[in-house]
Amino acid sequence: MARIFRYLGLLGLAGLAAFYMITMPRSVDEARFDGLTGDSGRGASVFHASGCASCHTAPKVEFSDTPILTGGQSFPSDFGTFLAPNISPSAEHGIGTWSVLDFANAVQRGVSPGGKHYYPVFPYTAYAQMSEQDIVDLKAFIDTLPASDIPNQPHQVGFPFNIRRTLGGWKLLFAGKDWVLQDAATPELIRGRYLVEAQAHCAECHTPRNPLGGLDRSNWLAGSVLPGEGKVPGITPKELDWAPEDVAYYLESGFTPEFDSAGGAMTHVVENMGQLTPEDRNAIAAYLQVFK
């Protein structure tokens, strides 16, 4: 009998050790960022393509070329309500003291400088595919923006989702994935894939999620339902019968082919996409065409 308990005890310890290992926050490879210097001008393009301001400005703030990344917008989900943090260059309340590596770990691994997991409401699973140079340029641009001294508000997340360590398991299941579009045959498709999958993170809203909150990659961009937002349309040619020129024009002007206009959260996306080059908007449209 005692032997059984000893055995169960050991098994429990092994389980704890495994949990500890699996859920441990993992960092980026430091060597990747060696010797890179950021260009804030290029970083501005990365910033707009990645839609940073859409979530990190204060609620109901209009579009700006030099936004104040105060945070405070709330994002309801099935797991609780998340509040976007201050990512302005404030030393006390923002990310003013972060190194390039701190920044890369946050954006590409979802890990804070203190070694805690971020919730995947922050689309680091997409940003993980961004190039090192884009990350460094992005930080250089954010460093030029005005600082905000508004403190962060805590997320409203209940048990067990408030145990951040469990996110290590979530990441094991859903982070670190390869491109969805495996063979991008032309430079335009490669560019479109980069914009859609690594930067603009279209899938975060337009792809349905499984019960654990992971993206259902077999229904890529096929439409979803967002708590607090409602129905989000599918954007592949199977659900949306728009010519590529129509998609590009929508991203530029906000007008649908029927000349209705974009509404809700998508207006932020149109503001960001309007900052891209026409070639980039065409590349996004070309990428979507592949999912016939």
Binding site: K60, S253, A262
Partner: protein, 151 residues
């Protein structure tokens, strides 16, 4: 009597969006008609801006003038209290229009200004038309961003 009133109030509270009465329905139809006029004429301008149709100064000017005329309508009677999407079916107008009134008047002014700019630009040449399109789209979106709900 008191009980019946209470039941009625309760029934209304539980029922959610109801079928609109005639006056509300008429107002919703009228403002949707106004939107339809915008949409139709924007389609004419947009096809030229996109390059799917050749630029035609007279047709562009006519479309832009229609938008300007539609934007100059006094819209107050088309947006009565109780014609929001939580109260009645057949509309996507959010209740915030009324709870934050007159905030929406600013969006109305922006729309009217953008329509004026387009009316001056559309008949000039294609570049001017294309230049005015962005501000007009922005004016549409500024209202739809805050005040239009999802289907």
């Amino acid at each position: 009597m008191k009980r019946r009133v209470l039941t009625t109030i309760l029934a209304i509270a539980i029922a959610g969006p109801a079928i609109a009465d005639k006056a509300i329905e008429s107002a919703i139809k009228a403002r949707q008609g106004q939107m339809q006029i915008y949409q139709h004429n924007l389609g004419i301008l947009g096809a030229m801006a996109k390059g799917t149709v050749d630029y035609d100064a007279a047709a562009a000017a006519a479309a832009a003038n229609n938008i300007k005329a539609a934007a100059s309508l006094d819209a107050m009677s088309m947006w009565p209290q109780g014609s929001d999407m939580d109260s009645v079916e057949g509309t996507r107008a959010k209740a915030e229009i009324w709870t934050t009134f007159p905030a929406i008047a600013e969006n109305g002014m922006a729309m009217s200004n953008a329509a004026d700019v387009m009316a001056a630009a559309a008949g000039t040449d294609l570049t001017a038309l294309q230049g005015a399109m962005g501000a007009l789209g922005g004016a549409c979106s500024s209202c739809h961003k805050a005040y239009r709900g999802r289907r």
